[in-house]
Each structure stands twice: as C-alpha cells, then as structure tokens.
C-alpha cells in the first residue's frame, strides 16, 4: 500500500519525505531535491523542521500524525526562492502512512496556480489602492461635476489647478443650488490627503453668539450654558478645509474675528486668553453680491479681499444648455437604482421643457422635479406630463428670451396646459378656486379643462 502510494507520487512529480517520531528524515525522493533546489540527505540527522521551518510550532500535530491520531495536516503555497531569484510555490500535505511510527510529507509544485492567483489579486488590489489615492480623487473631479459646457469645463479646470495649491483661499459665488457645496468638497478632495478633515458650517444657520462659539470653540463657563470646554470647528478643521457657506450672513463681530484668524493663523476660544495655532484652508461661499454688501457696510472689505484669493463663479442651470439634460439623465440613472425602475430617459417634449425652464432653484429644483417624476412614472420614458415643475413662474418682464419661448422642435400645447394645471393644483393643495386663480382662469373654466385633460 505504501509502495503504491510512493509510486503514485513519484510518477506524478510530487516530492515525498518520510519521517519518524523524532521528526527526523528517513527517506526523501529525488523530486524533493528538484522542488526545493537543495540536496536532502537520507539520514536521520536532518529534522523536517530544518527543511521546512514552516513546521516549527506544529510539532505536536506532526507527532499526532505519526501516531495515527490525526489523518493529515496541510499548508498551501509556501514560498521558496532559489539562488537565481526564482520563486516556487509549494503545497505541503503531511499524511499518516501505513508504516509504524512514520509519516510522509507530500510536496506539490503549485507555482502555476499561485502565479494566476497573484495576477488576479494584484489587479484587484491595484485598482482598489488607485481608487483611494489622491491622484484618483483629482481625476474624479471631472466625473463628479457633470457637463461639457465651457462654464463647467472652466470649473473643473480651476478645481484641478487648485488641487496643487492646498493653501489658497477660495470664494465661491452663485445662486442657490448651483453646487457650491459639491465644488468646495471637490476642491478639498483634490488637494488634501485622505485624512484631512472637511468641516462645513452654514453661517446663516446660527445666531451670532452661537456661531462664534461653534467656530472658535469656548472654555467652560465662557457664557451661560457653557458647561464644559468645547473645541470649535476651526480646531476640528486644522490640517484640512473649513467651508463657510453663506459667508454673506456672517455678523460683523465674527467677520472681525475671522479676519484676525486668517491673518495671524491663530485664534482664541471664547473665554480663553490662550492663542491656538491653526493651519486650515478656507473656502467661503455666498449667493449674495459681496461688493454690494460692502457698499452697504454689511461686509468688511478687508475680509472680502482676504477670502477672494481665487474666486469661482458657479453658473445657474439655465445657462448650461444641453448640460441640463446630461445632469437629468444622471439623476434618472441614480434614481433607477434607488427605486428599482428602468426608466430610459426623456421624451423630446420633456427634454424641451427641461431646457426651457428658468430653474431658479437650479440643481436642487431639477433634482426634486426628476425625483417626483421617477416616483410616479409608470412608463419607461419621462414625458412632459410627468414633469411637475414647481418653481414660481417668472414675471412677464423676464428678460430671459428662452422663457416661454417655443422650442425649435415645437411643443404640444395641450401637454403644456395639462402640466401647468397639474402644477397649479399641486401648489394650491388641490383647492380648485386657488388653482384657477394661479392660472388666471375662472373656477368653471378650470373644471372644464380638467375634464378635457382627464385630470379628475
């Protein structure tokens, strides 16, 4: 039986070493020398742990195999590098054998299998590590900010340039919903290491004293309610980015303190006499015209110039032309996954409506509009009636020539009328009198049109 096993192993190119209860080598086949690139003497002076240091620590298991108490022990993919630097991978199986007080080590060459595994793992891990790298994050800027228009390309280019200057202060301007927060994050991501903090605060969201405490922190007892010492957001942002959203709302006293911090790179917590050093990139954003605020003495000119080292204006959605469709398509793609739907895109009438609308709420409004459509849609293409555009209608004096203009491809007036009636009803919480008022119709005319468009 043992001889049969030996023959089987030898003819299949496996190496074999027989050893005894002293863990000494009794016999090693010729294949072992080839697999290990070393000569093994068939004398009981060599221990198997000398040949395989991998077996140190498991001597008890080996003795149990010799004593036939456990059937086998296995180790896969041991590395062996020869004098020429060639690595061979070996699988070891230590088996009980029929001879008394003997066991056998079977050595299998697994180099080909190991190389395949190495290639696969290398690709997977390289991809993963690249994705988490700064270089990759810089490249992501172009993917996170959608659009091919010149205005969007300018933004992407500026962010990528700012990625190489992690200290420059940036002032982001633009209407609400134009992506100031996303842009600030992208500037941060493309410039900072993974562990650098990104701390944001909406300056309009806090009353004056609370805002100061949030920004600069406070000592215990600094004011009523300050029951413990609390570090401020400036400290938390140390080594990273502090994003001050709606900077135009910053109260004058806080403006002065912020200016001092920017100039000296130090600050004091409320109620403290100790100055703390801070190294932080400041990105500020506003939807106000700060030059107007300066002229009305509501914003400090010196702070404006300190913040406005690099300014980046984010254009409103209505100026982005076909980019609107690209953004809307991306929203559909994302919401398809979220709502488990398979909406393909927009009808040409819906596309025209998206392109014609004024979008005063910009990307936020577009997002809501598409999400509403995706919730209720039953078909696989979003059509005009599916789009309920909620933003207030621009006054007739609007100077935007596209507003209410008929698109080149024409439109379905009934569809537009139906959509407007739906929108009015929604705004009026289904109160027909109010909806009629919104549309400049009598209640009777509205009811007639609702019947006509099957809206009852």
């Amino acid at each position: 039986m043992v001889d049969t096993l030996k023959i089987l192993l030898d003819v299949n190119g496996f190496g074999r070493i027989t050893f005894d209860q002293q863990l000494q080598v009794i016999e090693a086949s010729l294949a072992v020398q080839k697999l290990l690139s070393q000569t093994i003497e068939n004398t009981p002076t060599v221990a198997v742990t000398d040949i395989f240091p991998e077996l140190i620590g498991v001597e008890n298991q080996l003795l149990q195999i010799v004593a036939k108490q456990i059937p086998y022990y296995r180790l896969n993919l041991l590395n062996r590098t020869d004098e020429n630097g060639q690595t061979r991978y070996l699988n070891l199986t230590i088996l009980a054998c029929s001879e008394e007080e003997r066991a056998i080590i079977v050595i299998e060459d697994a180099t080909a299998k190991a190389m395949d595994l190495q290639r696969t793992n290398q690709q997977r891990y390289d991809t993963f590590l690249y994705r988490s790298s700064l270089e990759h994050r810089r490249n992501q800027v172009g993917r996170a900010i959608l659009g091919k228009s010149k205005a969007i390309q300018h933004i992407v280019d500026t962010i990528q340039q700012l990625g190489h200057v992690p200290t420059a202060k940036v002032l982001l301007t633009g209407e609400t919903g134009t992506g100031k927060n996303l842009t600030a994050r992208m500037i941060h991501e493309s410039a900072m290491t993974y562990d650098a903090p990104f701390i944001e605060i909406n300056c309009a969201a806090f009353p004056e004293q609370l805002l100061e405490a949030e920004l600069f922190g406070h000592e215990k007892g600094a004011f009523t309610g300050a029951i413990s010492t609390k570090p401020g957001l400036l400290e938390k942002a140390d080594g990273g980015t502090l994003f001050l959203d709606e900077i135009g709302e910053l109260p004058p006293s806080t403006q002065a303190k912020l200016l001092s911090t920017i100039e000296s790179k130090t600050f004091r917590r409320l109620g403290s006499t100790t100055s703390y050093k801070v190294n932080v990139r400041i990105i500020a954003a506003t939807n106000r015209d700060l030059t107007v605020e300066i002229s009305k003495n509501r914003f400090r000119e010196d702070l404006y110039y300190r913040l406005n080292v690099v300014s980046l204006h984010l254009p409103p959605l209505r100026e982005l032309g076909e980019d609107i469709i690209m953004i809307a398509q991306q929203l559909v793609k994302t919401l398809n996954l979220q709502f488990k739907k398979s909406v393909k895109g927009f009808s040409s009438a819906a596309r025209q409506a998206l392109l014609s609308h004024h979008w005063p709420g910009n990307a936020r409004e577009l997002g809501n509009c598409i999400e509403r459509a995706m919730i209720f849609i039953k078909n696989d293409v979003i059509d005009l009636p599916d789009l309920v555009i909620m933003s207030p209608v621009e006054p007739a004096t609007s100077t935007d020539p596209r507003h209410w203009a008929v698109p080149d491809t024409g439109l379905d007036l009934d569809q537009v009328a139906r959509s407007l009636i739906l929108s009015a009803l929604q705004q009026a919480n289904n109160n027909k009198s109010k909806a009629a008022q919104l549309l400049g119709l009598t209640r009777h005319t509205l009811r007639y049109r609702m019947e006509k468009y099957d809206l009852n």
């Binding site: 298991q61 180790l75 896969n76 993919l77 590395n79 793992n121 993974y194």
Partner: protein, 175 residues
C-alpha cells in the same frame, strides 16, 4: 543563554505593508512597488537577548516570521497558518481607517486558534500622514486589550520597525 525558535504571524488585510515591514526588519530594504503576497513566506531573524527579570537568564529568540497573504476566506487552512504562533504583529494602514475593522475580524480568528499568543499592534505608513499627532480615532480602539500601545511605524523610512519586533520579543517572555 538559550535560543528559542518562535513563530510570529504578520496579520492584517491586503496592502497594509506586512511584507514591507518584514523586508525592512529582516533585510533592511524597502521597495515602492506593491506586489501582493500569495500564500506564505517564512523569514528568520535572530532577536537581541531579552531578560525576563533582573539577574534572570537572558533568552534569545529566533523569530520565524510568517508573512501570510491577505486572508478573505477563513477555513482550516488559515487555522493551520496560525497554529503554533507565539505572537503576532497586527498591522493597520494609517491612510485607510477601514483596515482597523478588517484587522479586528482577522484577530478574532487568530485568537480562536492561538488564545495565548501575544499581539503587538502596528499602525504603518506614518510617512504618508500629514500630521502624525492626529491619528484617526478608529485606530485608538485597537490596542485597548493589547499588550502594548499602538506602535506607529514606517516600513519606508524604517521608523520604529525594529522597536515593534523587539517589543514583541520582550512581551513573549513576560509572564
């Protein structure tokens, strides 16, 4: 003075720098190229003598350092890799906080096989961190039940690499 052979396992998820730490410690080399480890490689290194107590007999360890490939599937083979280990260096990557969570799973398996083993925790790649004084709080939890503080190393510069192995040698002999 007796020489004792001790099996030491390098533990940690892929890409944390296990192989680089061994390479730095054993051969004093570092390569920027990342090459995933397949299977296991055992390296040997004679450690400086350690003395268990004043006037006690010094002991010298021959470390057999098992550099094991990142383990995704825990099976009997992995138990065999761990079996017989006296200690381990548990490695996380300072640039990837999630490696702390992955290490916790690996350590659970390791301690199931080697409950008596001593573990020293290493936070590697400090050379890539902008402010080494601020280490992500996810790493703080690691060494709560450990024999030592988290040791911050760099296989690239060699910072604290020898210290970590030497500390493990000392801890193994501490009753």
């Amino acid at each position: 003075m007796g020489i004792q052979k001790r099996k030491i396992c390098m533990l940690g998820t892929f890409g944390v720098g296990k192989t680089s730490l061994v390479e730095r410690f054993v051969n004093n080399r570092f390569s920027e190229k990342y090459l995933t480890t397949v299977g296991l490689t055992v390296s040997q290194k004679m450690m400086p003598p350690v003395q268990q107590e004043p006037n006690g007999i010094p002991i010298q360890h021959m470390f057999l350092i098992w550099d094991i490939a990142a383990i995704e599937k825990f099976d009997s083979m992995v138990s065999n890799y761990f079996r017989g280990a006296s200690g381990a260096l548990a490695v996380v990557d300072l640039t990837r906080p999630e490696t702390a969570d992955e290490l916790a799973t690996i350590l659970d398996r390791f301690f199931a096989v080697c409950p008596e083993a001593v573990v020293v925790y290493i936070a590697n790649k400090v050379d890539l961190i902008s402010d080494p004084s601020k280490i992500n709080s996810r790493f703080d939890q690691l060494s709560v039940n450990a024999a030592s503080e988290l040791i911050v190393t760099s296989a690239k510069t060699g910072a604290q690499v020898e210290d970590a192995f030497y500390l493990l040698s000392q801890q193994i002999e501490t009753p």
